[in-house]
Every structure is written in C-alpha cells, then in structure tokens.
Amino acid sequence: MADQKQSPEEQWRALATKALKGKDPESLNRKSPEGVQIQALYTKDDVEQRNTDSGYPGQFPFTRGPYPTMYTQRPWTIRQYAGFSTAEESNKFYRAALEKGQKGLSVAFDLATHRGYDSDHPRVVGDVGKAGVAIDSVEDMKILFDGIPLDQMSVSMTMNGAVIPIMAAYIVAAEEQGVASEKLSGTIQNDILKEFMVRNTYIYPPQESMRLVADIIEYTSKYMPRFNSISISGYHMQEAGADSALELAFTLADGLEYVKTAVERGLAVDDFAPRLSFFFAIGMNFLMEVSKLRAARSLWAELMKEYFDPKNQKSMMLRTHCQTSGWSLTAQDPLNNVIRTTIEAMAAVLGGTQSLHTNSYDEAISLPTETSSRIARNTQIIIQEETDITHTVDPLGGSYAIESMTSDLKERALGIINEVMEMGGMAKAIEQGYPKRKIEEAAAIKQAGIDKGDLTIVGVNKFINEKEDPVEILDIDNTDVRNRQVELIEAIKEKRDKVAVKEVLEQIKTSAESGKGNLLELAVEATRRRATVGEISTAMERAWGRHSATSQTIKGVYESVYQSDDHYQEIKHKIEAFAEEEGRRPRILVVKMGQDGHDRGAKVVATAFADMGFDVDVGPLFSTPEEAAKQAIENDVHVIGVSTLAAGHKTLIPELISILKNQEAEDIIIVAGGVIPVQDYEFLRSVGVSAIFGPGTNIPKAASEVIDEIRAVKA
C-alpha cells in the first residue's frame, strides 16, 4: 500500500520504480534526434511549467489550427502529386483521379523541365518524361489541363528552377482556355532557398534566383489574388535527413527571408503574406510530427508579428500542405509502406494540415502504378469518411504530451532560427553552408543508426521477409516520350513568328541584366508568342550564367555512431588489408548522372565509405556519362558507384559502360544504388553492372561486397 501522505506523483514514482525492479523511472526518458527530452510521462505540471495555453483555433497564434472550424466544416484537400511521360498521359491520369475522389491537382514535372532544358537538349537524354511530365511549351501545358476547368480546379505546381517559364505557360494555357488570371487558384512552389540546401534543382545563382521569387510574388499579388505565390518547403529537408527541429527552423527562416525580400521590393506585407503557404514532410515519429505542425503555426505567427508587425491576421496565419515521407518507405516488403503512410497521414491530419499527399507503397521502387495510386488516395478518403477524426477540431489539443512537446520543439527551433538570424538570415547562412552541413550530419547519423540496428525498420533490419513477391511497376519508355516531345518542339518553332520571339527573348535578357521590369510579365508575353520553356530559361541564363554549387562533404560522423562495433571494425580491417596489398586504398567515384539533384544517398555513401577507409571521389551533380567516365579514368578509380533515383539508369549506365570500354578502361567496375526496380536488375547486370544496392542497403555490407568485386576483377 502506498503511503497516505505521498502525493499522486510520488506514488507514481514509487510504483514505477517497483515495476522497473528498483530502477529510477527517469531512466525511461529519452532524447529525440531533435535533442528534445522525451518524458516517459507528461502531467498537468509539465503543461503548467511551460505555460502553454494553446487557446482557440482560428486565433493568434493559431497553434490549434488556422481556421475556427477546421475539418468539422470541410476536411483537408486530398492533393496527390503526380505526373509522368507526356502531357496527354498525365492528363488522362489526372482526370481519372478527379473522378475517383481527388480534390486538387499537383503537377510533377520531369527533371529536364525543372532545370530549364527543352526535351531536345543533349544533357537530358535520360531524364525526359521520367520522374514527371515533360513540358516544353504552352502547347504541352494546354494538353495537360485539357478538359480540366482552371477557374474551378486548384493547381499546385512543384517548380523552382524554371519557375518563370512554367508559371507563364500555366497563365497562358488558362488564358487560351478563356480563364482570366485573377480566377486562378493554386500554389507554385517557388522556394529556391531550399534548392540550394537540399534538392539542387536550381538554375541561376542565389541572388538572381531571389529576384525571380520577388517577381512572382509581385506579379501574383497584382494579378492572381487567389494564387499562393510560394510554398515554403521543409519537406525536402526532412527527406534529406533533417530532424523535425531543423526542418521547422530552416523552413520558417526561409519564410522570413522571402518576406524580407518582398518587403524590400516595396510590397506591403499584408499585400502578399496571406498568400504564402508552407509544405512539410510527415515522418514516422507520430507525436513529434503532430507537435511540429502545431509548433510551426504558433512560431510563424509570433515571428511574423515580431519582425514585420502585419495588420492583417491572415499574414501571420500559417497554412500548410503536407506529404508523407518518401524516405520512410522501403523497397523491401513494400506493402508495409501502406501502414507507414497511414500512420503518417494520421499525424498530418491530427496536426491540422490544409492539404495532403499520401505516398504510394511502391515509391521506393518505381513510379506509382494505378493500383498503388488508388490505395494511396483511399488512405485519405478512409480517414475522412470512415473515422470520427474530422468531427472535432484539434482533438489532441490539451494532451499533456502534445502540448509539452509542441512547446519544447518550438523552443528548440527558435534557438536554431536565432542562430540563423545572427548570421544575417537564411540567404547568408546558406552561403556559409551552415544548414546543408547540419542536415547532412543528421542524415549520416541516422543512416549509421539504421545500419547498426539501433533504429528499427521492419523488413530492412528486423523481421526481414525472405521471400519477396514481385511488385508490378510502371516503366516509362523514355525514348518514345523524347521523340514525341522533340517533334512537337520542331512543329512549334516552325509555325511561330520568329522575329517576334527573338525580340521578346532579347527583352528578357535585358531585364535580367538590368534588374528592371518583371520577368514573369515578359515571360507571359514570350509564351504567348510560343517561345519554349528552354528558350525563356536560356534568355535569363545568358545574363546570369548557370549556377554550380560548391559541395562540402563531412567526415567522421558516420563512424562516430559505430565506435567499437566489431562487425564494423572487421570491414575496416578488410579495407586496410586491401590497401596494404594494393599499395593504395580502394578508390571509388560516387557519381550522379542526369538532372536529378537529390544527393542524400550519394552524400551518405561518400562519407560512410571514406570513414570505412575508401578514397572517395565525388562527381559534380548533373554529370553526363562522358564526364563521369573522364573523371573515373583520370583518378584511376577501382569502381564507379552510380547513385540513381530518377529512373534514368537504363539509358545512362549502359552509355557510361560503353564509353569506358572505348577508352580501354573496362577494368573499372560499376555498381549502382538508389531507386532501381528489381525488374531492371537483370538488364543492368547484363550490360555489366557488378552489384546493385537498393534502398535500405546496409552500407558496411555493401562496402565489403564492393571490395570483393574489385578483387574478383583483379584475379
């Protein structure tokens, strides 16, 4: 019996200690990757200590939601991100999805378009139509939205690099559909800062890119009052390895930088701030993710008030889109991904998102099929229509744990934001490489945790399914798409008034140089005259050049997690032995070919391999097979590791191998890693790839296999 004089808290402590066989209950507390202390038990005292009253939804600081009635009045928008192949194919897909309960569109463009290249450009042979739809001109855009009334359908477009010509194509396509721009609703991502941090689909240098952001904010605030001029994105940061605090802090700091830019342009904060929107990733840390969205809203409101003091409440109100984490999906036992996505979707909804994309279970393997897209969409419909979650606003509000974690996470993120502000804001911090370094460190630590088994991923490092059933996949015949696009470009160029096009492209270049005028306005005119996406991009590139990033690589972080792990030491010895015999360390070139800029995988592999004892050459982003071969030969590497996520591997890897052969370098072996469907393994092996590492590969094991492969060639 507990002592009568003990408080309930003391009684709990005594009971817990007993349950733990004498151990202090504090030992159950743990540190989250964010550095937030997670308590085994939260109580009323925790909420009182933190002094967090989250108040009412629809009221400053909006912790409980931007709107007073939230989903009780209207649920979030089901907005699935999709696009592939040609505009016709994507259009068909959109129309089918809208019929089956999807509410908004979200366009995925192919990488060639993202980087401002028309489909006929020699650098993008492997990229056209692959990870999104190929859009070269307004004609493609018109086909894309054929039969979809743009005055009624809200359209989200993930575009940052080639944001000017794509916005122009959208505006002109609507115009020719008979829809005036003030009726258009939707969102353009237009978030270039995070491109320089993680996603790498930029075109121009940072300063010039920021001007484009301002041009778009200015244009939309004048002509497109219902359109979100920017979607400030943390999504790609989490995907690149950031924890929730880093994601939150860097995203809001990006937001402040954009507001500052627009204010410096002469816009009044209340004229554009209500049309800023956000975009977060939702991963598997359920309670932390719910807290993140709540913390994001109140932190944004407070920061906006402090820095810009808007008069309109809406200027402080954070509205967000969310997407379930693609990184959390596994290629192994992929049906598990349905469950992961459901849990993540629940977190997004309980956190109060305004719209949501749920991933398809096969996205760690290939592009979504019809079946997997349907399941993904239904995940949201089921939460909306079969559960009671939408019947109450912010149902987790007031939970001791959620309120405490919201407050702790907020504090943590604010600390990072203040650091960034001391550096002079996000643009300056990015110049110094600070956010990138932080994110890459977090990624390397996380990977080591998984490889070591500290972090569980079912089907990958625990309860592995020995007999996997083959999964149906969607394969795009990229050559066909490209041929078709090239034909269309030629047809357009044939028919248009060449002098008029040349004239307006010249004006774009001049405006880029002088800093005067609005480039979106000029691009709209150029698009009316049938200038292509690539031509408009090039006109600006002629003034500004194409940006190439300086890349930093970290060392020692991966190893720090392992310290005295026996298995890891074994692999290090194996590599040392190789070096002793060979007279040099094994040398690997880690390279990405094509226009895909997602380099988390390549970076993590580079730093882990170096820690284990490889000499690692890192190739420039966006390499062609020729460039990769030249670098491999000059550095006389033993092996090239090709990191591929965007499905260009079937074109680019055979080309790389044939170039190596032509230069008598066939003894350099090729391994491939990333998102490669099992169906392609046979093909890749037949062209000469020595080993293939899918998502979830244990890196020390892969290193050991690579050494074996090198030895096999030498023998």
Binding site: R584, R585, Q631, I633
Partner: protein, 326 residues
C-alpha cells in the same frame, strides 16, 4: 600494361596510361615504386612547361579560381594539369576528394587533366608523389601544371619548392594587413591574388590589394630584382583572370632573362636529391631488417637503464657506417 607500353601511351597523350602511371607513382607497394622509377626514367626529357603553385586558406575560392584560370589557359591554347596536395591528412580512414565538384567546366574539358590525390601518408610522401606526378603530366603534353594546396602546416613550402611561380590567394578582409598571413609566406610568394572582388566586397578587395602592395614594399621578397605582383580578381565573375596570366608570363620571362629559371629548377632538383637521400637513409636506419632488431635491443636497454640514449644512438648509426664500408 608494361612500363614501356605505359610510357608510349603517356607520350601519345592518352589519358588512361597517364592516370595509371600516376597510380604507380602514388603506390606504396615496393614493386610499383620500382616500376614508377623505370617509367620516369623512360620519360625523362626537357620540356617547355610552366609550373605554378596555388595556395590559400579554405574558403578563399581556390577551386573557383582554378576553374576560371584553367579555362582561360585552355582558351589561350594550353593544356592544363591540376594536381592537388592536401595535407589535412586524417589519422584513420580514407579521404573525400571533392575538388572536381567545384571545377565543373574545367574538369570536362578535353585539354584538362585533374587529379586530386588522397591524403594518406606523410607530407613528404605527398610531396614526392606530386613532383613525380608533375613530370608524368608534362610528358603527357600538359604544358601548364597547377599544383593546388590548402594552406595548412608546411604544405605551401613544400609546394613552393617544386614550382616556378608561387601564387597566393587572399580574401578581401582588409584592415588586418599582414597580420593575417602565416609567417614565411611572404618570402615565397611571387604573385598575390585577392579573390572575391565582386559585389559588396569589390571595394574591400581593392583596398586590401593596395595595403598588401604597401606592406610588401618593405619586405625582403624571394627575388630581389623581380617584384611581387598583385591582383584583385573575381574568379566567380571571371574578372581579372587575363591579367593574372599575363603577370605570370611576365614573371617567367623575367626569370628566364636573368637566368634564374633553369637555375631554380636545377637547385630544386639538387635539394630534392638531398631530401630523398636523407629520407631513404632514415627509412633504412629504422626499417632495415638487421637494424630493426638492433633498435629493439637498444630500446630495451634504455628502458631498463642499462644504456644511455646518447650511447645507443651512436651504436645505431654505426650500423649504417659499417654497411657503407662493406
């Protein structure tokens, strides 16, 4: 590939044999080292080349500068090899060699050969390899060799002892004058380049340039009759690069006119010879099979207080003397 095949391939300007040759030179394997020596003997020949050292602190923009500078050299009809000496050697593990990610256009040029070297081994080892790699590149038809080093430890001095002209890159941080420069750097600098003279920093860079000019005026420089040259450039915006190159050409001309050019290379070779002999001697002293045993015995003796270190040292060296008289 045999040594003579390699030599033939290198002379024919082929990329693959040159790269393989460099691997031999870099190898720590005794049989590779022997082959490397043969290869270098095959290729020995006087060639009309310019060797330039490029140094500066991390963040000064070396790679960006070399990207712009190298492209300019190629436009002028040269073939350029870039070698990187990075002494920031980790104690364990391999290295990450990311240089080419920062020389994107240069690295894809047919007329350029870029080879960053891993950092394992001693600094002397790195320098040895770089010297010999340089000779291989020259044999392969590259007539301008850029040896890049990050300014850590003794690396600038190592590099300056193997090039014709040593270029120091500086940041525009004006105001602290010469205080920000490591001791001894002024004495080896032939050309000083203040990078990042663009945007807000242009003024600062120009100011820094005149401050350095003023400060150097009172210093003993490397060559009393050939003045040090100063430039403010923006590698990023490709401004001032042409001027740096013509400055270097003038410097080389002056060296040649005064007869210093060959003299310098000769004396570099002589001190290189001395250095190699010393290294080999030390290697022999501690690694020779018989010597190792002896050394172990003497060490034990010292630990047990049976022999004085000074006496032990004399005994140790006497072995080499004996070997000599045999």
């Amino acid at each position: 590939m045999t040594v003579s095949q390699l030599a033939k391939g290198i002379k024919a300007g082929k990329r693959r044999p040159l790269a393989k040759g460099i691997t031999l030179v870099e190898s720590s394997h005794p049989s590779d080292q022997e082959q490397a020596a043969q290869l270098l003997t095959h290729l020995a020949e006087d060639r009309d080349t310019i060797r330039i050292g490029v140094s500066g602190v991390p963040g000064v923009g070396k790679s960006t500068f070399i990207e712009a500078f190298g492209n300019h050299l190629i436009a002028e009809g040269h073939r350029v090899a870039v070698l990187a000496v990075d002494p920031s050697s980790p104690t364990t593990g391999g290295s990450i060699l990311g240089d080419k990610t920062r020389m994107e256009t240069l690295s894809s040029r047919e007329e350029a050969f870029i080879r960053p070297s891993p950092t394992s081994g001693t600094l002397g080892g790195v320098a040895k390899r770089t010297r010999e790699t340089m000779l291989l590149c020259e044999a392969g038809g590259y007539d301008v060799i850029l040896v890049e080093t990050v300014g850590v430890g003794q690396s600038e001095f190592e590099v300056s002892s193997m090039v014709d002209c040593f270029m120091m890159l500086m940041l525009p941080g004006a105001g602290d004058g010469l205080q920000g420069i490591k001791r001894g750097i002024m004495e080896i600098t032939d050309v000083m380049v203040i990078n990042k003279a663009d945007g807000d920093q242009e003024k600062l860079a120009l100011q820094a340039k005149s401050e350095y000019e003023h400060a150097f005026h009172f210093l003993q420089t490397r060559l009393p009759d050939i003045p040090v040259r100063f430039h403010a450039v923006s590698a990023l915006k490709n401004k001032g690069i042409t001027e740096v190159w013509s400055s270097i050409l003038q410097f080389i001309d002056a060296l040649k006119q005064q007869g210093f050019f060959n003299e310098q290379r000769m004396s570099q070779n002589l001190s290189w010879f001395k250095r190699l002999a010393e290294d080999a001697l030390i290697e022999e002293l501690w690694r020779g099979e018989h010597n190792r045993e002896m050394a172990e015995q003497l060490k034990k003796g010292i630990i047990n207080n049976e022999i004085l270190p000074s006496v032990a040292a004399k005994k140790m060296v006497s072995i080499i003397k004996k070997a000599d008289s045999n």
